[in-house]
C-alpha cells in the first residue's frame, strides 16, 4: 500500500515524512477528541450513545479500528477482507455476503483535507480532499487496512477521486447512471452490480476453489442490514417527537458510526439506544422544550470529525431534528424490498434500493429530492432549513434555488451556508446561524401565541 510515497525516498526524506505524518495524526486525534469531549459534556447524553462515541474514539483518536472490525484477527481462521466504500451506492449486502467487511471511507477531517489540498485542484470539495489525504498519508489505519476500495461514479469530484486513489490502493470504479428514470440506465446498473458481485467472489474466494456468493448468504446479509435499517428508522421516528429526546448532533454521530462498525454490532447498540430514547419519550424526559426551533440540516453531510455545523446550530439554541445527508438519515433509510428468494430478485431489489430512492444531487432530474424534503419538513414539523453546502459541491448548490422556491410556498425559511472543514469562518457562521435561529424562535413563539389565542 501507499505505493507512491514510500518509494524512492532517501532515509532522511522518509524521516521527514514520518514526522509530518505524526504531526497531522496528532492534530487529527486532538480535533476528534475535542468534538467527542463536547458531546460527552452534555448531561442529557443518552447512555446508549457511548458505544457510538467509542467507535469514533477508537477509529480517530486511538487508531484501533482493527480491534473494532476484526476482534479475533489473530486467529488464523479469520482472514476476512475489508472493502472500503465511498458514497451510498455501494451495496454492502454483497460485500457481507462475500464474507468481507465494508467500511465507509468518505473523509471528514480538516487535517486530512489539508494534505489532500496538495494533491487535487483547489476547488475540489473537502470530502474528496480529506479522503485522498487520508489514503495518501495513512493518518489512521482505517484507510490502510482496506484491501480494495469501491468508488461509485457519482459527482465529478468523486469520479476523479477514484482515479487519484488508484495511485495508492486498489480501486474498483462502480458506474452509477445519472438518469434514474430510463429503463436502460437501470438495466446497466443491474449489470454493474452483477460485475461487482463477480469481482467480489473472485477477490474473496480461495485461489482455486473460488467461492460464489450464495443465495442464502445474500439473504442473510440483506436481513442483517435490514435490521440495521429498521433500527435507523426507529431513531428517525423518535426524532419526530414534538419535544426532542436526543440532540441532532448525537443522533448523527450514531448513524455516522455505522461506517466503521459491523452492521450486526451496530444494530445491537442502536436497538439499545432506541429503547432508551423511547423510554425517555414515555417518561417525558425531553432535552429541550417544544418551543425550540426545529432545524432540518439539508444537503452536504457532516462527516466526523467535522462536527462544526451541527454543533454550532445546536449551540445557538436550535435542535436538528432531521437531516438528509448521505451520512445521516439517508444512509440507512431505504431498505431492500425482497419479494421472493431467488438470486434474480435479490439482485434486482438491491439494484433498485441503491439507485432509485437515492436523492444524491448527482442525479438529474432529481425532483425526488424536493418531494423528500417536503415530506420531511411536514413529518418533522420543521421550522427552518439550514442548507449546508461544502465548498466545491456545485451540485448541491445548484438545487438550492429549487429548494428555496418550494420552501417559500410552505413558509419555511432557508439559510444557505457555504463552508469547508476549516474553523476560520466560525465566527461569521455563528452570527448568521444565531440570527437565523433567533428569527425562527420569534416566529415560532408568535405562531404558538396566536394558536393559543384562537383556542
Amino acid at each position: 500500500m501507499n505505493k507512491e510515497i514510500s518509494q524512492n525516498k532517501s532515509p532522511n526524506e522518509a524521516d521527514q515524512l514520518q514526522k509530518r505524518k505524526d504531526h497531522f495524526a496528532r492534530n487529527l486525534a486532538r480535533s476528534a477528541k475535542t468534538v467527542l469531549a463536547e458531546l460527552e459534556e452534555n448531561p442529557d447524553l443518552p447512555l446508549g450513545m457511548h458505544y457510538f462515541i467509542n467507535i469514533m474514539r477508537e477509529v480517530f483518536v486511538k487508531d484501533r479500528v482493527h480491534q473494532l472490525l476484526l476482534p479475533s484477527l489473530h486467529q488464523s481462521t479469520n482472514n476476512r477482507k475489508i472493502i472500503g466504500t465511498y458514497c451510498i451506492m455501494v451495496p454492502e449486502e454483497l460485500i457481507y455476503a462475500a464474507g468481507a467487511i465494508p467500511v465507509r471511507l468518505c473523509g471528514g477531517s480538516y487535517e486530512a483535507s489539508c494534505i489532500g489540498d496538495e494533491l487535487v485542484p483547489r476547488d475540489t470539495c473537502p470530502v474528496v480532499k480529506a479522503s485522498i489525504g487520508f489514503t495518501s498519508f495513512n493518518l489512521i489505519s482505517l484507510y490502510q487496512m482496506c484491501d480494495a476500495v469501491i468508488v461509485p461514479t457519482t459527482c465529478d469530484s468523486k469520479r476523479k477521486m477514484g482515479e487519484e486513489l488508484s495511485k495508492f490502493t486498489e480501486v474498483w470504479m462502480l458506474e452509477v447512471p445519472h438518469i434514474k428514470d430510463s429503463e436502460g440506465s437501470r438495466r446497466q446498473w443491474l449489470q454493474q452490480l452483477y460485475v461487482l458481485k463477480k469481482n467480489l467472489e473472485k477477490f474473496t474466494g480461495r485461489r482455486f476453489t473460488g467461492r460464489k456468493i450464495r443465495r442464502k448468504a445474500l439473504d442473510t446479509s440483506i436481513k442483517m442490514i435490514g435490521s440495521a435499517q429498521y433500527q435507523a428508522r426507529r431513531l428517525y421516528e423518535i426524532r419526530k417527537s414534538s419535544a426532542p429526546v436526543i440532540l441532532g448532533r448525537e443522533a448523527m454521530i450514531a448513524i455516522n458510526a455505522y461506517s466503521y462498525a459491523t452492521a450486526f454490532e451496530w444494530t445491537k447498540a442502536m436497538t439499545g439506544l432506541n429503547d432508551e430514547l423511547e423510554a425517555r419519550c414515555h417518561k417525558g424526559q425531553f432535552i429541550c422544550s417544544e418551543h425550540t426551533p426545529r432545524i432540518l440540516l439539508a444537503s452536504c453531510s457532516p462527516i466526523f470529525p467535522n462536527w462544526k455545523i451541527p454543533s454550532l446550530i445546536e449551540e445557538m439554541g436550535a435542535v436538528i431534528v432531521a437531516d438528509e445527508s448521505c451520512m445521516g438519515n439517508r444512509y440507512l433509510y431505504d431498505p431492500v424490498g425482497l419479494t421472493e428468494k431467488s438470486m434474480t430478485d435479490m439482485m434486482v431489489s438491491i439494484a433498485a434500493r441503491y439507485l432509485m430512492p437515492c436523492v444524491c444531487p448527482s442525479f438529474a432530474p432529481n425532483e425526488d429530492r424536493l418531494f423528500r424534503l417536503l415530506q420531511m419538513a411536514e413529518e418533522f414539523s420543521i421550522d427552518g432549513i439550514i442548507y449546508y453546502v461544502l465548498k466545491g459541491c456545485v451540485i448541491y448548490d445548484f438545487e438550492l434555488i429549487r429548494v428555496e422556491k418550494i420552501m417559500k410556498d410552505k413558509n419555511i425559511p432557508v439559510l444557505r451556508i457555504e463552508t469547508d472543514y476549516s474553523s476560520e469562518d466560525i465566527e461569521q457562521l455563528r452570527t448568521r446561524i444565531e440570527a437565523f435561529v433567533e428569527m425562527l424562535g420569534t416566529k415560532k413563539r408568535n405562531s404558538l401565541a396566536t394558536k393559543t389565542l384562537r383556542f
Binding site: 429498521y230 431467488s342 434474480t344 430478485d345 430512492p357
Partner: protein, 328 residues
C-alpha cells in the same frame, strides 16, 4: 394474516366455486367478469361473460341483443363493485398462473421481465383478441361471405383462449387439449389455442401473471377503472420512488412508482392484488380505497415484518378484516 394469504384463500375458494361449484348446484349466471370457463363442463359454477357475449352476438337476433343488454348491465354492476380485483382475487385462470408462479418460486428461479419496448408492442394483442371476440360472431350471425368458414368459427375467442384448454385439464379432463379435426378452420383455431396454452404454461412458469396483459376480459374490466369502487391511491409526497412496488407487481406496472401528480394510480393492467401496498416501505404512501374509504394502507412496520426482520405486527389484522369484508 397477510394480504397475500388472504388473496390465496379468495383465489382458492373462487376456483372451487367457479370451476367445481356446479357439483353442488351453484350457478352464478352467464355474466361473470372472470374466466368462469363453461368448457369445464357440468361442474362449472358460472359462465364467463366473453363466452356469453360471443354466443349472443353469434345468434344475432333482436331478442338476443336485448338479452345482451341485460347481461351487460349485470356485468357492469359486478365490475363497478370491485373493478379488476376480479382478476387478482377471483379469476380461476389467474389462480392457475399463480400456482405455476409458486412452483417457480419454490425452486428459487428468478422471473423474467420483458423490456419496456416489447411490452408496449405486445399491448395490441388484447385488442386483437377483443375484436376477434366482437366482430367474428357478427360474421357468424350474418355470413355475408365464406359462410362455411364462418360456421366453424363459433366462440372464436374461446377457441384461442388458453383457459379453454388449461382449466378443464386442471380438473382432470385431458380431452380438452385435443385438436378439433372437424374442418381446416377448427384445426387452425385449436392449434393456435393449444399454442397459446403451451406458451402460457411455460410463460407462467417464468414470468408472473404471464397471460393477464393479453386478456381481453382484463381490457373490458379496465374501462371501468374510473368509476369502480375499489381504487389504488398514492400519496406522491410520501413516495420515495424506491421501486419496490414495481418489483413486486405481477403485471409489472411502472407508473405506480413513477406517478408524481395524481392520487389515483389504478392503471389499466392493475389487477388490484395489493401486493404493492403490502410491500411499500413508507407509511401511507400507497393505499387501497373502497368508495373513497381506506381499507388497506402501506406501513413501514408491515414492510419490515414481511421481510422477516421484525415479527408480524398485530394491528395489521384490522386492516385485513376490513378488506375481507368488502370482498365478500
Amino acid at each position: 394474516m397477510t394480504v397475500t394469504n388472504l388473496r390465496w384463500m379468495a383465489l382458492i375458494i373462487s376456483f372451487f366455486v367457479l370451476i367445481l361449484g356446479g357439483l353442488i348446484g351453484i350457478d352464478l349466471g352467464g355474466f361473470l367478469p372472470t374466466y368462469a370457463c363453461p368448457y369445464v363442463g357440468q361442474t362449472r359454477g358460472g359462465v364467463c361473460f366473453l363466452f356469453r357475449l360471443q354466443f349472443i352476438l353469434g345468434v344475432g337476433s333482436w331478442e338476443a341483443f336485448k338479452a345482451l343488454g341485460e347481461h351487460l348491465l349485470y356485468f357492469s354492476i359486478l365490475v363497478v363493485l370491485i373493478g379488476r380485483a376480479w382478476c387478482g382475487w377471483i379469476c380461476p385462470f389467474g389462480f392457475v398462473q399463480d400456482v405455476l408462479d409458486l412452483i417457480r418460486r419454490k425452486f428459487h428461479i428468478g422471473y423474467i421481465r420483458f423490456p419496456e419496448r416489447l411490452r408496449a408492442n405486445l399491448r395490441c394483442i388484447k385488442w386483437i383478441f377483443f375484436f376477434i371476440a366482437l366482430l367474428i360472431p357478427l360474421w357468424v350471425a350474418y355470413p355475408l361471405f365464406a359462410p362455411s368458414v364462418a360456421g366453424d368459427l363459433r366462440q372464436p375467442f374461446c377457441s384461442l383462449c388458453p383457459g379453454k384448454y388449461i382449466l378443464p385439464l386442471v380438473i382432470g379432463d385431458p380431452d380438452s387439449v385435443a385438436v378439433d379435426f372437424k374442418s381446416a378452420t377448427t384445426i387452425t383455431m385449436t392449434i393456435l389455442g393449444l399454442t397459446f396454452s403451451t406458451l402460457t404454461i411455460i410463460g407462467a412458469l417464468l414470468k408472473r401473471r404471464f397471460w393477464c396483459p393479453y386478456c381481453p376480459m382484463g381490457l373490458l374490466l379496465s374501462w371501468y377503472k374510473k368509476i369502480s369502487f375499489i381504487k389504488l391511491k398514492k400519496d406522491c409526497q410520501k413516495c420515495t420512488m424506491c421501486e419496490v412496488c414495481y418489483n413486486v407487481c405481477p403485471v409489472e406496472i411502472q407508473q405506480v412508482f413513477k406517478e408524481r401528480e395524481n392520487e389515483d394510480v389504478t392503471f389499466t393492467d392493475c389487477t388490484l392484488c395489493l401486493r404493492c401496498v403490502e410491500y411499500c416501505p413508507e407509511d401511507g404512501a400507497l393505499r387501497a380505497t373502497f368508495l373513497g374509504k381506506t381499507i388497506y394502507k402501506s406501513t413501514s412496520k408491515g414492510f419490515f415484518s414481511r421481510q422477516h426482520i421484525i415479527p408480524a405486527v398485530p394491528e395489521e389484522k384490522h386492516q385485513k378484516a376490513a378488506l375481507e369484508h368488502t370482498n365478500e
